[in-house]
Symmetry: D2
Subunit: 361 residues, 4 copies
């Protein structure tokens, strides 16, 4: 008996996985928004729920034995269901020795009259979800080969994007977008899934969120990937902006360190781990006051911050103003700097005396 | 007797200050390339050299008592010359109580027939050097006020930038750009200062490097700044790319942490400090193999990575390929993932047993 | 009119300040348990409560202008009551220029018939509370001078401590001690204050918790301090032990980083700051499962861990045993190691090829 | 043909592995000095040198499939010789399914008349080198079982240690001990190996360096270990002391972070990795000025710091003194603290206004 189950987990994906990524300003190796990595735990969760419901002892996946996805899917599955067994054909020698790549599979399908909806025309591999599409392998394996123009599917070429910018107001609550309004036509979205898809639409139309990088896989090899992630890129930039007007400087530094850890955890497949739960909890805590509205302009691949406002702002115009005096005596800075210099002066003196004695290293 | 000394320290600024910033991928609070902060130590060095040469006991500067620059200039000066005395009028009450802002100064100049080359027309403050221009204060103090179109001086509005992209090859050695070649017209620059100015020209023409941020000053208040930094933005993106194909993953993580510290040190004026010297040394060490060439496309505010190559690459096409087998058994990944899962399974079991006992928190 | 208010905040000190320090394994510069630093926020809280209750506009303290305590007391006061004004005689030139040290004060008291309970016999300065006593200044300012035997007041000389050890069971809940039992005589304490004082008694009797260090003050100078902190030392060691059997490895690493930040925040007087509140929250979260009982032996300055048990233990005897097989295939380690070696092999190959080409740096 | 090669790598072990550990104040999980972990790369280096010299394609080791040593030996071997093949019987199912533990091996030896120098009397496993001995497994696997008194081999029971302390002067240069002098009898050692062995002798005689911990293995399980490491413990404490009088505060914080990474790298077997080489380089750089002499007292398990002096000291007695004025105006602290409070006051105000509006979370 065979059962075929299809679940729509798109909203859960946005709320449970993408939103924490936005709260964290989550970038792997400074550039990758992790559209694939954030999706894997949601997929594994669905998979394990089905397995439990069907009392299945085995699950299977088609990720290769050289990539990150095998790790993400399997670690998530083991974490949620320690007794599950996993069948991964690409790691079974009789399979991977017989089919050395996608071409062999095309051959096999052809020979055995298995109908395929895809063709070997596009010489690269692709993985997509509502957050992003990644392109790797094939001709992209050579890092000197430029990605062809017709590769991208979520975004237009910035050069072919409209000459008129879109201007959006994005409202955040606890570090998460709760409302998007297009100032041109008044379109407004508040449902997480709709909001995200709408930002994909606007970002995609303006060619936002393309990157071409070489990254470090968990399993220790480097790989080249081309990604597009329009809504993610818009939200990253907007969130960075609202976060910094509402979050204390010293909290930000600690949270920045936690975000780096979070990015590594997500990328390496440890979403369902004690450390990732802990890190998400801490990052979420840091977002308590991250409320407010950012205005951005979307234009030919760019996301420009125009202005922002927040009721929880720690920005004090009176305090910072060059004109108003507001509760701060410039004289105090004298002592502040002199005390900060104590250490530096001592160091200078030590080095001078060492230099005199001729024993400087 | 008065002596007026003018020094051209532009090349030293590029080589001694900007290059280490590029090696570090130096961003303050994830966005600001620190064009002002990187320049201050070079200015202080020149100032102190003059003071020593002229046997001066005092130096003076016009930075306000609420900003970062006072800290940067004074800490650098004290570090280089512990016995120097600093006169900072904006921190002397009889001065700052009399002149509550730039307008009072304009009034005073007018009343006393002091000729001024600037006028109060542009209601903001500006600070520029060859790396960037910053705009703050005045109308920009309200974070909801959009920066006016005519503010920028180094970059054109991306909307008015050419429809034709420029394509550049940027070659790095030890993490520092050593050659830039424009593939369209063959222009080539190798001298650090010329190279940097040329990237400013190309970036500026294409509207690259504008940001609008609220940032945390060292002295504990938030301020809003608008910056443009064309060459810096191009080099940041290109360097991130060449670094990641040549640097080991685990080294990168440690270096990333050091870069965050470096950005804070530079921003807060601790260039001439034991910790910043130490951090620069370590970051420079990390760049030993960061050699190679990146091809970028510059277009309407965007810097797109197109391809890269390096003789010191740790990228192994054979190893990563889905087609070739190259010294890696996919089967090994089974054990890798299972061992990584040991901890996660234990945690799942502990929580299940706690849940059964009803003592889960 | 004068009002003299005495508050007993000892229990609050233990619960609100010392316990978070224990949860964090809080050590400043790897050695100092921060008995003074943890106490200051509690003192400032009491001070500000009184000031508010009495509608006082000023508070005053006797900390010098060169130490950490001025910073801790004043930052805490400003944080709790931004409009308070602080009078600190040791920072008023007419005071500190007249009295250049404690001797001048003794002279002044003598000359003016002010009775003093202390005498200039002990040539050092002392600060104590229920957690610890610190000794600094005077003859201790020379880091080559050994601390005299009669200096210590909370602990006996380990050489004069009993020849019979005490054995204690210390039970933790959420990282905090909730019960101490002396296995020799059955003494048992569960009230936080009583428990802490009892550990001081036992630790003090056995000469536990003495250190002699040079540390870095917040204001940038180094100072030499001699401290004794008997209960704190016992709890640090016991908590480290129970924490590690109940806390996941990867959570521990993140928490360890947070603890370093926490120690700096506490030492520098930022207890009542957004970042310290955030850090305390995160550390407390990490302690959710830190439950269990540790048995320690206290003997002539030593705290020896003897055994531990915990219902929330992540230690799985079956799993780790060399005899039992328990859900772990040694074979899996093969793949684990091989995948971890991928990166190292690539690096070796790059260097070999560079060496061959003679271009190794 | 069989070749039996014995190499004395003790001095190399001290200089190449232990010294960097001392420079780093290297502790795994805050307590373990890593006597085993530091030795493994030296063993692997010797092994690979022999393999190359003998043109061997295989090496073999007897580490189990559940511990750290397999990882350390194999990663080091692969890093030094990417093409080597490793035979590890304890990970071959036909071996480990036949011999489920040490008892089975004893049985086998008995049955086959293989003479054994060890007996199954001591129900634990032991691993020793000149730096330490570790005890695990057997009865120690139960974390509630106390380690028996007769287990330790390098150190006497502190309770049976002499009543007279030893007092040592330890001189460091670049963070490494270069001379040890016993003040009682004038014994002096300067050769690294002799110096280390002498500290083992003195520390061992006084019962120094015993710990009993539960630690996290790299492969994700917790294990309980009992260790003794006399010289290591003495040097750790002495080095912490000399480091802090000679190293700048801010450098120390960065170095402390690097040391945590270094401890993880060493523990997990990544000595011969790009990141560990990088970290060692940075830590060594930080030790440039770590010169001076520390006087310690060794007594019944304790290492007490008594005094220290250094020509590179950053400690300035004049500056810190409560009596002398020395180049620091206490008045400056006023401004220092006020500027540090700016942020805290803003935060207090935001929260007060939120509380008034009733929207505090």
């Amino acid at each position: 008996m065979e059962t075929y189950i299809v679940q729509d987990v798109r909203k859960a994906f946005v709320v449970e996985n993408i939103w924490p990524g936005i709260q964290a300003n989550c970038l792997y190796e400074d550039r990758y928004l992790m559209g694939t990595a954030l999706a894997r735990p949601q997929i594994a969760k669905g998979l394990i729920e089905c397995a439990k419901q069907e009392s299945a002892q085995y699950i299977s996946h088609g990720a290769t034995g050289k990539g990150n996805d095998q790790v993400r899917l399997e670690l998530s599955s083991y974490a949620l269901h320690p007794d599950i067994e996993i069948i991964a054909p690409w790691k079974i020698p009789e399979f991977y020795n017989r089919f050395l790549g996608r071409n062999d599979l095309f051959e096999y399908a052809k020979k055995n009259d298995i109908p395929l909806s895809i063709t070997p025309k596009k010489p690269w591999s692709m993985d997509g979800n509502l957050m992003h599409i990644s392109y790797e392998s094939g001709i992209l394996e050579n890092p000197m080969t430029e990605a062809p123009d017709d590769l991208y599917q979520m975004t237009v070429d910035p050069k072919k994007a409209p000459d008129i910018a879109d201007k959006l107001e994005i409202q955040f609550k606890r570090g998460v977008p709760v409302r998007v309004k297009n100032l041109a036509d008044g379109t407004e979205k508040t449902d997480p899934l709709e909001l995200y898809l709408y930002l994909n639409e606007v970002g995609g139309r303006h060619g936002v969120g393309r990157i071409d990088i070489v990254e470090n896989r968990f399993i220790g090899m480097k790989s080249r990937g081309v990604y597009e992630c329009p809504a993610g890129q818009i939200l990253l930039i907007a969130h960075l902006d609202i976060e910094n007007i509402t979050m204390d400087k010293a909290v930000r530094r600690i949270k920045q360190g936690l975000s780096l850890r979070f990015a590594e955890q997500v990328y390496e497949g440890f979403w369902y781990s004690p450390e990732c739960e802990f890190t998400r909890h801490c990052i979420d805590k840091s977002q308590e006051n991250v409320d407010g509205t950012v205005t951005v302009e979307i234009y030919k691949g760019n996301v420009f911050i125009k202005s922002r406002c927040s009721a929880s702002s720690l920005y004090n115009e009176e305090l910072v103003s060059m004109v108003m005096k507001g509760n701060y005596e410039p004289e105090d800075a004298l002592g502040f700097i002199k005390v900060n210099a104590v250490r530096l002066k001592e160091y200078c003196r030590l080095r001078s005396s060492q230099a005199e004695k001729g024993d400087a290293s």
